[in-house]
């Protein structure tokens, strides 16, 4: 099954208001430091990069390491500037990519 993501972006905001954004995505975040019961090391499989754009312009970016918990959750803020789309992109090991968007209307 494909990765699933849950976003929290206010549907409406006042111009100039600081809004909180949350993004949750399904991912195992295998650290690369674990071993199977037979002792073989389990290869790293994590999301390494997250990016959020607001009408095309990057407003937030993060780099994740194995210490980010499984099913990465991130919250950050941005100033509501204009109506449009927030786009969220995740990428990582084993050519993992996922994206999701949310609309916002700014008065």
């Amino acid at each position: 099954m494909a990765a699933r993501a849950l976003l929290r972006v206010p549907q409406r905001a006042k111009r100039g208001e600081v809004i909180e954004i949350r993004a949750l995505i399904s991912h195992i975040m295998e650290t690369g430091f674990r071993h199977s019961e037979r002792g073989a090391s389990i290869a790293r499989d994590i999301i390494t990069d997250f990016r959020c754009t607001y009408n095309g312009a990057e407003i937030f970016r993060a780099r994740f390491y194995p210490a980010i918990a499984a099913n990465p959750f991130i919250t950050f803020t941005t100033i509501a500037t204009e109506s449009g789309t927030l786009r969220f992109e995740w990428s990582g090991d084993n050519e993992f990519t996922a994206s999701e968007s949310a609309a916002i209307s700014v008065e």
């Binding site: 849950l6 949750l24 918990a69 099913n71 959750f73």
Partner: protein, 237 residues
């Protein structure tokens, strides 16, 4: 056994036996907050998968059960007798899977089975637990001492509920939130997986997934929690 020596050195006050509290109430504020908001509860990622699976398959679950409102309260009354046998929700789902979809049953703890169970359980959120069947067998299992530590479920969950055991607070074992996203597992898991962890904890051979003992225990736990509100899919430490 360091962990169980600690158990005897506990300090917290005893919880009154008639005061039932869900595992949620024993959690820290920050873990509660994780469950409170659907966009921060990782279990909701499985619900999204369950929603998709509900529409998939031939014929799809949705094609027979038309709308999801028919599933309201269903999770709150399982385990229940079905086709002459006591079944938990997972087994009931698999019965439709084999008999109505003529497909292979989903394995216990598979992403598919957990997702469908979570999606169905969500429909009972806030509803009182309402199992009906006789739970005598499960009660006997709950009270029986077992494992190398020779302990019963009742000793921890009735006698010592509210006390600390290593890093955990012992809850009263009310299964209001299953399947749960357990922080320890970093994934969603069934009530049976949770019970297996407790059995391993007392060095007992865990009952198999789907075994009659497991289902009887589930039924007893649900009957002890009758009337308590469902909060599935929950988050637990």
């Amino acid at each position: 056994m360091r962990v169980f020596a600690l158990l005897l050195a506990v300090a917290a006050s005893l919880v009154h036996a008639d005061e039932r509290r869900s595992g949620y109430e024993f959690m820290s504020r920050s873990t509660q907050a994780m469950q409170d908001d659907d966009t921060s509860n990782p279990a909701m990622l499985w619900v999204l998968d369950g929603e998709a699976l509900w529409q998939a398959g031939k014929p799809s679950c949705a094609s027979c059960h038309s709308n999801m409102s028919g599933m309201k309260g269903v999770a709150a009354r399982y385990p229940a007798m079905s086709s002459g046998r006591l079944m938990n929700l997972e087994q009931r789902i698999n019965l439709c899977r084999t008999e109505k979809q003529h497909a292979k049953p989903y394995a216990y703890e598979s992403k598919e089975l957990l997702s469908l169970t979570a999606y169905i359980a969500l429909q009972s959120r806030g509803m009182p637990i309402a199992v009906k069947d006789d739970a005598t067998k499960g009660k006997a299992l709950y009270e029986q001492r077992q494992g190398q530590l020779n302990m019963s479920c009742a000793q921890c969950h009735d006698q010592y509920a509210g006390h600390r055991l290593a890093g955990s607070t012992i809850p009263q074992a009310h299964p209001t939130g299953y399947p749960v996203y357990r922080l320890e597992w970093q994934t969603l898991g069934s009530l049976q997986r949770r019970l297996r962890n407790c059995l391993v904890g007392i060095r007992a051979e865990p009952y198999g997934y789907g075994s009659p003992e497991m289902v009887e225990l589930e039924l007893y736990l649900m009957s002890r929690a009758r009337g308590m509100k469902m909060d599935a899919p929950g988050v637990r430490p």
